[in-house]
């Protein structure tokens, strides 16, 4: 069971800060999209914050992270500055990829954050390969790979799980099961709706966790640490969650009911955690309000900095294609 009372006030504050930063950042992203400052595809993470915050707090700075196109939350929780991510989405030269990648392709090698891949499930084999390199070099770090429920239907999911188990490499697969792949509900994508079963079929230890409950995610990560970091084995963590917003900015949401969204919002991971933390005296209402203010300032500053950025010169179009320029 969750050892809820071991947390100290500073940690609780930090975690709430992480989750709120993600939520407000995504709100700002949506707003900047409607203003035309962000273009292309924009997939928001609102509702899934407990997973990024809960998984990331257990990772060390040399661990490697890979994610999908819905990766703002992971990037923020990893510690990439909001202004740098916002600048990337504005297409500015001071974005983490010099503006070349945009929302779906956040890379930051300094924090071992390897994207931001927009071909569904195409980063899973790379995660296995990075973990293989770690094993071959006898390093102690691990790889953490985030993907969705839809991704678990791709061939690379099956291939990657098999390879990871066969080669016994230290990779943690984190499946963020937000119930839908675009407009396709889990039951229309998967005959075996329990995604953890798929992992077990490949000989991988696989567990479920309530992805709306930060404490449950933190607890699951303790176990994951024992399996992946200590025992050097792959593991699959299936986090049940929900995206509060549309799939992307081009989604009329015809496939789910408003009521379903309302039901899930009752379990808003930020509210759940705040209620718990204030209830047991870890956080005061003042502290929460203060975090809100800090986050608001951070996000305002990120947007301001992004809008004051410079574009890369057109003459540089053909840079960064090969190592030798």
């Amino acid at each position: 069971m969750v050892d809820r009372f071991i947390m100290d006030a500073a940690t609780a504050k930090g975690l709430l800060h992480q989750m709120l930063r993600i939520r407000r950042f995504e709100d700002a992203s949506a707003e900047q999209y409607s203003r035309g400052n962000i273009r292309g595809f924009l997939h928001l993470y609102s509702g899934e914050e407990a997973i990024a915050a809960g998984v990331m707090q257990a990772l060390r700075h040399d661990d490697i992270i890979l994610s999908s196109y819905r990766e703002h939350g992971h990037a923020l929780a990893r510690g990439i500055a909001p202004s740098v991510i916002m600048a990337e989405m504005f297409g500015m030269a001071d974005g983490c990829c010099r503006g070349r990648g945009g929302s779906m392709h956040l890379f930051d090698v300094a924090t071992n954050f390897y994207g931001g891949t927009a071909i569904v499930a195409s980063h899973l084999p790379m995660a296995v390969g990075m973990a293989l390199a770690i094993r071959k070099r006898d390093e102690h770090r691990i790889v953490c790979c985030f993907f969705g429920d839809g991704a678990a239907a791709e061939g690379t999911f099956a291939e990657s799980l098999n390879l990871a188990a066969l080669w016994s490499v230290p990779v943690l697969f984190v499946c963020e099961n937000n119930q839908y792949a675009m407009g396709t509900a889990l039951q229309y994508s998967h005959a075996e709706k329990d995604i953890a079963q798929k992992g077990r079929a490949y000989g991988i230890e696989s567990v479920h966790v309530d992805g709306m409950d930060l404490l449950a995610v933190i607890d699951a990560m303790r176990h994951a640490e024992a399996v992946v970091r200590t025992a050097r084995k792959p593991m699959l963590l299936v986090c049940n969650t929900y995206r509060f917003r549309a799939h992307s900015m081009f989604d009329a949401e015809l496939y789910r009911s408003k009521d379903e969204v309302v039901q899930w919002k009752r379990r808003d991971p930020i509210d759940v955690f705040t209620t718990w933390a204030t209830g047991c005296g870890l956080l005061t209402e003042d502290a929460v309000a203060q975090i809100e203010t800090t986050v608001a300032n951070e996000i305002t500053e990120a947007v301001t900095m992004a809008s004051q950025g410079d574009l890369e010169p057109v003459e540089d179009l053909e840079r960064h294609i090969y190592a030798t320029e």
């Binding site: 991704a151 792949a181 294609i321």
Partner: protein, 333 residues
């Protein structure tokens, strides 16, 4: 037949709606036909092309698939081998790479490899085109890849009429047909000629007649070349615009016929220049019309860079009207 199915010709129609009417027609016409792909049903199609079809035809005819491109394209091929007439939608051409093995090694190959015994009458449709700031992984122009594959017929839907009539023609083929639909054209509207009830899927088509130079293109190149031709007309240059329509097999005759009239050619495409469709077209012109050329054939093509996200760099990476005009002035001088 259209009347009996309650479909009326509307005065103006969008490219999207024309695609949808085509789907409805072939689904009514042939009960072996069914549509499958990611989000074609409940979501209404990633680009709303198949919106409403699930209600109209039911889940056996409009099948949502999981994210499994290799799997469901392969399954479409199998269904075609076993007597069905599947229409498989790959959400966008970018994801066709995941299904390429099935398309190349099975769909395109089986008839020949089985000594003529096994046919694969499948239609594979996909959304194409770049220019929406979707960054490198979502901004591919793989038309040349498909045009390279022996055993396929590859159609590029550049006009309303082709949106309405290419699919029915493709469904009559006993071999695999790839249909490339351009998402930037989905909202374009126009009037469909009520007297046209079919199009051929063998020939290129002159979209604008001209006598000084031939602009040879396909897909999103068509509107760009037409715009360039209008601008060129203002300065007295009369450009012909030839829409290839069929990228495989290429309609060499139409290409040569036009170039023999104009003696100059510029090939325009979004795809990367090296080994693009333009490379093949200009090679054929060189092989067959070299002595009739007044100037070397030029290509206006994509810059060979993974397409970057920001607007100014994306625009610079993809042919624009200005660049086409510039190339025409070069071959005219």
């Amino acid at each position: 037949m259209q009347q009996s199915n309650g479909m009326q010709q509307e005065p103006t129609i969008s490219y999207r709606k024309a695609l949808r009417q085509a789907l409805r027609e072939v689904l009514y016409a042939d009960d072996r036909a069914f549509l499958m792909g990611e989000d074609v049903g409940r979501y209404g199609g990633a680009f709303a092309v198949s919106k409403g079809l699930l209600d109209e035809f039911g889940p056996e005819r409009i099948m949502d698939t999981p994210l499994s491109e290799s799997g469901f394209v392969g399954a479409g091929i199998g269904a075609a081998m076993a007597g069905m007439r599947p229409i498989v939608e790959i959400m966008t051409i970018n994801f066709s790479l995941l299904a390429m093995d099935q398309i190349v090694n099975n769909a395109a190959t089986l008839r020949h490899m089985s000594g003529g015994q096994v046919g694969v009458p499948i239609v594979i449709r996909m959304g194409c085109g770049i220019g929406r700031q979707l960054a490198a992984q979502h901004s591919h122009s793989w038309e040349p890849l498909f045009a390279h594959i022996a055993g396929l017929t590859v159609l590029s839907v550049g006009t309303l009429e082709d949106a309405r009539w290419m699919l029915p023609a493709a469904m009559r083929s006993d071999d695999p047909v790839v249909i490339l639909e351009y998402t930037s054209l989905l909202n374009s509207e126009g009037i469909l000629d009520g007297n046209v009830g079919s199009v051929d899927i063998r020939t290129a088509c002159v979209r604008r007649h001209g006598s000084d130079v031939t602009l040879i293109t396909y897909g999103t190149g068509v509107p760009k070349c037409l715009a360039a031709a209008e601008r060129l007309a203002e300065s007295g240059i009369d450009a012909e615009v030839l829409d290839l329509r069929v990228l495989r097999p290429l309609d060499e005759q139409s290409i040569l016929a036009s170039v023999l009239r104009t003696h100059r050619a510029v090939v325009v495409e979004d795809a990367w220049r090296t080994l693009g469709v333009g490379a093949e077209v200009s090679a054929r012109i060189m092989e067959h019309a070299f002595r009739d050329l007044a100037s070397p054939v030029l290509r206006v093509a994509g810059v060979e860079v993974p397409i970057p996200y920001p607007k100014h760099l994306e625009d610079a990476a993809v042919p624009q009207v200005e660049g086409i005009i510039e190339a025409v002035r070069k071959v005219m001088s």
